[in-house]
Amino acid sequence: MIRGYFYQPNSSRVQESTARLSDSRVAIYAGDECVYETTPEALSVSAHLPGQASELIFADGARFVPLDTRYRWPFQRRNSALLARLESNLALIVCALVATPVLLYVLLFKLVPTIAVTAVQAMPEAVVEQMGQQSMVLIEQTVLSPSELSGDQQQAVRDLWHETLSQLGLSTDKYRIDLYRSDHFGANAFALPHGQVVVTDELALRLTEHPGALRAILLHEIGHVERMHSVRLASQAAVASIAIAMLVGDMDIVAEVVLGSGSALMDLQFSQNMEWEADNYALQQLERLGYSGEDFAQALESLALLDEEQAQSWLKYLSTHPSVQQRIEHAKNYASSP
């Protein structure tokens, strides 16, 4: 005799009752009156959860819940309690404690970037073109204004650009350069995925005396385009946010913050690697075309001087560019070693 509650179908009515099991029948009694009778085959038993009674669910929706939360029915299928057994298995819990962070790392730092790179390779040219043009429209309207350099100064940059392109054998249809004034970017250059490179007035002015240094920077930007870095960043961000949304599922806001900052760190690491890749591209091409890696080091040095005047020191740690000093050293070493 098992004491419990009998819940009638589609109604809030509850009866205190007892369940009696015989060879092939289950009967529910309220007092001495039998209120329900059925066979074990015609009912189901609820999923087993730690600390909770396992209830009988009858065909018409009526239910019987035992008072004793530890009581288990003799006809209950063994595998219905499999999860509950796993969840209270100490050895497995310890394994899970070790495996979960490892899996999390592999997923976010290995699998997601791999998927992102695969997605990039399957990307049609037209999509990359659209992506670049639309981003440019947004950037142009928000932080760029027309160049204020003289015609001669602009022509000098363009000549250098065309010379570099023809040396590299790259298409002038795909690659184009534009000069803009921008207070937001300061002395800077950036590349859009479809091959448009933007150089700010301030940067061009700063490097008028050092065309070699400007060429090195242009090569760095071409490196970003050739290796499809912005497309990779975008697809990385998309894949990562999906992965995180799936994982966070039932967690609280705090867990979201923790995982969210993990993903921001991942983006940071990813884009730092890209800077190194673009640096190496520039250094390789400089060497191939018979220039020196010193040009690139010089360009970085003149920008670093500017950096020190403006940026607060701790901000550098969070910057998307690796430490400038490291990059200068890298460029110099690259020049000396074959």
């Binding site: 009638q8 809030s12 979960t100 997923l107 659209q130 949304a245 799936m246 599922g249 039932d250 705090v254």
Partner: protein, 357 residues
């Protein structure tokens, strides 16, 4: 005390004594469920998350006991999975479009705003229908138009009032959600007061400003003490401290606001002839619980999450009493009877929880 609904209590004429809501789960048990959920979710690349959600909810619902009867969570993992795949599909399309075609993405965000009220209603409908107490399911009857006004239009306009309207909008949102809930065939009735929302918002804002001023003071004092020019470490230490401190303060403020609002809603809600609710959650106690929970989660890199969640749910249950009225025995489940009709079957195609969380 074993409190069960007995006919004798119902016949006594005056109101029966309130029953205490109890949470019978434990952090230790839940830790096992949580870590295995995480492991299986990672191993299956997220597919198991649907099963994990169901298991989590079943654990928390089933351990919430009122008047001797537990709550039930009824959704099946497949329903959750279907909804999640749909949501992920939408999300993939949106994030791909917005990162590759920023202009089209902006247009799409606008179109999604039109979908928001429908998705909110759908989510509430689903979670209510999947909640059962004493063989009666809850239901949600909100309409698209009202959801549009409360969740999209009014919050948007409150921006132009410098958010002065926001507490009133929040009151409308809570009123909309709660007055559209049904327990079987019985509607929930709420009478909410805008002034309670303004009082809570004002208190939390003042406290927030006060704490911020205190923190600035402490940090500038600490900065004065160690005057080491060119010392990078102190700057970094400050950054490392600010983040957990920020989380701690935000959680505490959240706790105060939530406790005040929860008390106000529950103390002014009833299901006629079926139940009346009482909530006496102390704001400062709840704030302390949420803040220390956040701190524990951060300090243990997430491992304290199960303990923290159980602790929070226990505090909420402890502060809640329900007066079960005689009519509680006569509630009928209308939804289940209508379930057999063809119209409901068709509607069931979309009977999924369309949300990522």
């Amino acid at each position: 005390m074993d409190s069960t609904s007995t006919p004798a209590a119902a016949q006594s004429g005056s109101q029966p004594p309130p029953s205490q809501l109890r949470f019978t789960g434990s952090g230790k048990e839940y830790f096992g469920i949580w870590i295995i959920n995480m492991l299986l979710t990672l191993l299956t690349l997220g597919i198991y998350s649907a099963w994990a959600t169901v298991r989590n909810k079943q654990y928390f619902y089933g351990h919430t006991v009122l008047d001797g009867h537990r709550f039930d969570y009824l959704a099946t993992p497949m329903q959750i999975l279907k909804g999640r795949l749909l949501a992920v599909g939408l999300f993939v399309i949106y994030s791909v479009v917005s990162s590759y075609f920023p202009l089209v993405g902006a247009l799409m965000a606008f179109a999604l705003a039109l979908l928001v009220p429908w998705m909110i209603n759908q989510g509430l409908k689903f979670s209510m229908r999947m909640t059962r107490y004493r063989n009666i399911r809850f239901a949600f009857k909100g309409r698209y138009g009202e959801a549009m006004v409360n969740f999209v239009v009014l919050p948007f306009f409150s921006i132009f009032t410098l958010y002065l309207l926001m507490p009133w909008v929040l009151k409308r949102i809570d009123a909309y959600i709660h007055s559209n809930i049904r327990y079987g065939d019985k509607p929930v009735q709420v009478q909410l007061e805008g002034k309670e929302y303004y009082a809570a918002a004002l208190l939390v804002m003042l406290l927030g400003i006060l704490v911020m001023m205190l923190l600035v003071l402490v940090f500038s004092l600490a900065g004065d003490i160690n005057i080491n020019p060119g010392e990078l470490a102190s700057g970094n230490m400050g950054m490392l401290l600010i983040f957990p401190l920020y989380l701690f303060v935000i959680s505490a403020l959240q706790g105060i606001y939530q406790a005040l609002i929860r008390n106000h809603i529950l103390n002014n809600a009833q299901i006629e002839d079926v139940a009346e609710f009482k909530s006496n959650l102390e704001p400062q106690r709840y704030a302390l619980i949420l803040a220390t929970n956040a701190a524990a989660i951060v300090l243990t890199a997430g491992l304290a999450f199960p303990w923290a969640k159980v602790r929070k749910v226990q505090a909420l249950a402890e502060a809640t009493q329900v007066v079960v009225l005689p009519g509680a025995d006569q509630v009928l489940d209308t939804a289940q009877q209508a379930d057999s009709s063809f119209a409901e079957e068709a509607a069931n195609v979309f009977d999924v929880d369309i949300s990522l969380t």
